[in-house]
Symmetry: C2
Subunit: 188 residues, 2 copies
């Protein structure tokens, strides 16, 4: 291990506080939020913010990487392969929505982090579930898998927005979006 990678506990705490504040501020104000806003929200000086993240871009990258890593970890812990596709989809919804406004930053703006990382940690496992769904004839095959994934993403985005606005709880939202995605909005 390189000793330069080891940080003091306070350093780690400050980093976390900055990323946390950045997630909230950016989710609220979008790309309009400035570094000063982030520093303010994090309760640190602007100079300190720049000591932790050299540029605005690197802050965004770190934030995105953080969100992807956390969402990926939740997906990895969800045991998607061992359960029926319907349940797996519900767990995916829960995992993504739980990461919430951190993920919203990535979706809203174009702060795409490492494409490979996104594909490896999020794309692949989700795609696997959908592919299994189509293969086992649980999911419809008359719509492209890619389109199905894109529509699923759209539903997730609006759900994150709903949860972020506290208009609906995480559990209700996850259940509703899973149900609507699988069954549709038609009655019965």
């Amino acid at each position: 291990m390189d000793s330069s990678l080891v940080h003091s506990p306070r350093h780690d705490r400050t980093t976390a506080a900055i990323l946390d504040a950045a997630a909230h501020v950016l989710a609220a104000d979008g790309a309009a939020a400035s570094m000063a806003d982030v520093a303010n929200a994090a309760g640190v000086g602007r100079a300190t913010l720049y000591r932790y993240f050299e540029t605005r871009e690197s802050l965004l990258e770190a934030l995105a990487a953080d969100a992807v890593a956390e969402a990926g970890a939740r997906l990895a812990d969800a045991g998607l392969d061992g359960v029926p596709v319907e349940l797996a989809i519900e767990r995916i919804v829960r995992a993504i929505v739980a990461v919430g406004d951190r993920y919203a930053v990535i979706l809203r703006e174009e702060i795409l982090p490492d494409r490979e990382e996104v594909e490896r940690l999020l794309g692949a496992p989700i795609r696997a579930v959908f592919a299994r769904g189509v293969r086992t004839e649980v999911l419809r095959s008359d719509v492209t898998l890619e389109i199905l994934l894109e529509l699923f993403g759209g539903l997730l985005t609006s759900t994150i927005k709903l949860v972020g606005q506290r208009r609906v709880g995480l559990e209700d939202a996850a259940a509703a979006v899973t149900d609507v995605f699988l069954q549709g909005s038609r009655a019965q």
Copy 2:
């Protein structure tokens, strides 16, 4: 009529060209696009752009109002009240997605134009169809109407993105999203 509201044909054409270019540029580059970018894309000088729209904000407002008006006109022409809810929803999808990247500007950024205008021209007719769907038991009632509308909006957003990227045609997209929204993604 106030004669100050009458414009020469060329003036109207230039206005349209600017709005058109602005819609494309903003759909592509998002809020990052500058007035210089818009002027460039419209093939006019920056000074001329400012002669037509006093500020960046007024340009965005005009663009949003334009998009809302066009989408509203399509909805009004769609005869939503006279057809079954399923067909009405398909027509809504087609109307909104057809306006395409003009509408994307509104959805992506927070350039909300006149809230009242949006509600009157878009919200009300769409809400009416959904309310009728719930009342006639075509649409499920175990999910709030508001949530259903929000999820519908999420599907529309991702569909606009798909169509904008030419990954799927307008007709296919409208059919797919209507079908998925009503029937869900489950096979059969």
